[in-house]
């Protein structure tokens, strides 16, 4: 291993590392978006008075929360092409895995958020003649999401870190691109330190953002 800390290798490879970071960020954002939508639907299922729906929601959540994330990633990498009859590429299979997995966690957060809005608000919506979906859409969910913003973002930060697991299917995210450079140029300390600092700074910024939002929305 060459001696001394080589800053040049980091600077020189920034464009390549950025391509990896783009994959990481895209995956994180799409997985949060999909996970929140899926989680909302699951939460409405779990809270439904129809026992089949609430059973489905409950089983889904319990099932995915009992699985290691990496297993889910493997599964979808091998299973999605079999179901679709054609390869979809690492990115889409991993994205589907993340969305389905995160939906289970978001479901529980959103369920708690919906429960945080009092029954009186449901009564008030019903009393003016709104139907179930209108009450959810215009009254309950806006308030629930407002209460949930900090914890949703915290879960998003965890997801951001978890995306590094995609190395198992050979997807070039930020960690993998750094790893490629590290091994090619034999600059392991430089590259792994860079990865650590970047993850740390981004998560720190995320947490600070969460704290600011918490203050802003604490009514």
């Amino acid at each position: 291993m060459t001696s001394g800390f080589d800053w040049q290798v980091i600077v020189k490879n920034l464009p390549f590392l950025w391509t990896g970071m783009q994959t990481t960020l895209l995956l994180t954002v799409l997985a949060i978006g999909g996970g929140v939508i899926g989680g909302t639907i699951l939460a409405l299922c779990r809270l439904s008075k129809f026992s089949a729906l609430s059973w489905f929601g409950g089983s889904y959540v319990n099932f995915f929360r009992s699985m290691p994330l990496i297993l889910v990633i493997f599964w979808f990498y091998f299973l999605v092409p079999i179901f679709l009859g054609r390869p979809v590429g690492g990115f889409y299979s991993v994205l589907i895995a993340f969305i389905l997995f995160e939906a289970a966690y978001y479901c529980e957060i959103i369920r708690a958020g919906i429960a945080s809005v009092g029954q009186g608000q449901v009564y008030a919506g019903q009393a003016v003649g709104l139907n179930y979906f209108q009450i959810m859409r215009y009254i309950i969910l806006p308030q629930a999401f407002r209460n949930m913003v900090p914890i949703l973002l915290t879960q998003g930060i965890i997801l951001f870190q978890d995306t590094s697991l995609v190395y198992v299917v050979g997807l070039h995210d930020f960690l993998v691109t750094a790893d490629i450079v590290a091994n090619r140029d034999v600059r392991l300390i430089e590259m792994y330190s860079t990865v650590a600092v970047v993850y740390f700074v981004m998560c720190l910024l995320g947490s600070l953002g969460v704290r600011r939002l918490q203050r802003k929305y604490s009514l």
Partner: protein
């Protein structure tokens, strides 16, 4: 207008309403009173189907509330309701609180809804508060907005569930004034309240409930003159003594 026939309701084993029967005719103001836990709030929530009941029949304007085939949202859109804790929607402005159901349920345009909201806010004395959020208003103001929100649906009857119980004393009258005006205009009203002054002023009949039963159902003069039951007399002596 509102007919309640032999209604019973249980929460698990607890029998909260016991064979209740009464009626509110068109243009009539009926006050429901009784000690807390007597079932009066539950009864009024059964009238528009917010609470289900297991036995008996309630019909509003000829439509059965408990019938599974009844379109409850459609029925409720004709019955205004005002709650003890106001229950304004805290995330939208006063104007939108009054406009939301007009637009989503009645299909009015935004302009029509705004115009109606302004008209009603003016009527309850809050024309200058349209753009505020509920949390920026006092309790009495919030309750008046809640009344405006209910009236915006042009209801055929109004239900009030302890509308002044959560208010500071100095704000009670501003809400009662609006209700008295409404009563004098001939609105059909069912009002759960302890405000006997309101009852004396505008009620046609008074219902007294205790332990899930309707113990008294009398005209105002009979009720305040000679209530028949001991419990009603005891209740009246307690709330009228000061």
């Amino acid at each position: 207008m509102i007919e309640i026939q032999n209604v019973s309701k249980w929460y698990g084993d607890f029998n909260v309403l016991k064979d209740c029967s009464s009626r509110v005719d068109k243009g009539e103001v009926v006050v429901v009173c009784g000690p807390s836990g007597s079932g009066k709030s539950t009864l009024i929530k059964c009238v528009n189907g917010l609470e289900p009941f297991q036995e008996g029949v309630i019909s509003v304007d000829g439509t059965s509330v408990g019938d599974p085939g009844t379109n409850l949202p459609e029925l409720r859109s004709h019955i205004g309701m005002v709650f003890q804790n106001f229950e304004l929607f805290p995330h939208i402005s006063v104007n939108d609180n009054i406009g939301l159901a007009q637009i989503k349920v009645l299909g009015r345009s935004q302009d029509e809804a705004n115009a109606r909201a302004m008209e009603l806010l003016d009527r309850v004395g809050l024309a200058d508060q349209a753009d505020k959020y509920p949390a920026q208003l006092s309790g009495g103001q919030q309750q008046r907005v809640a009344i405006a929100r209910a009236l915006a649906m042009d209801p055929i009857a109004m239900l009030f569930d302890e509308p002044t119980s959560a208010l500071d004393p100095e704000m009670i009258n501003e809400v009662l004034d609006v209700m008295v005006e409404l009563a004098q205009e001939g609105m059909t009203m069912m009002v759960v309240t302890h405000e006997m002054g309101f009852a004396r002023k505008v009620a046609h009949r008074v219902i007294f409930m205790d332990e899930g039963r309707i113990e008294e159902d009398a005209t105002k003069d009979d009720f305040f003159g000679t209530p028949r039951g001991d419990r009603a007399q005891l209740f009246l002596s307690k709330i009228l003594s000061h």
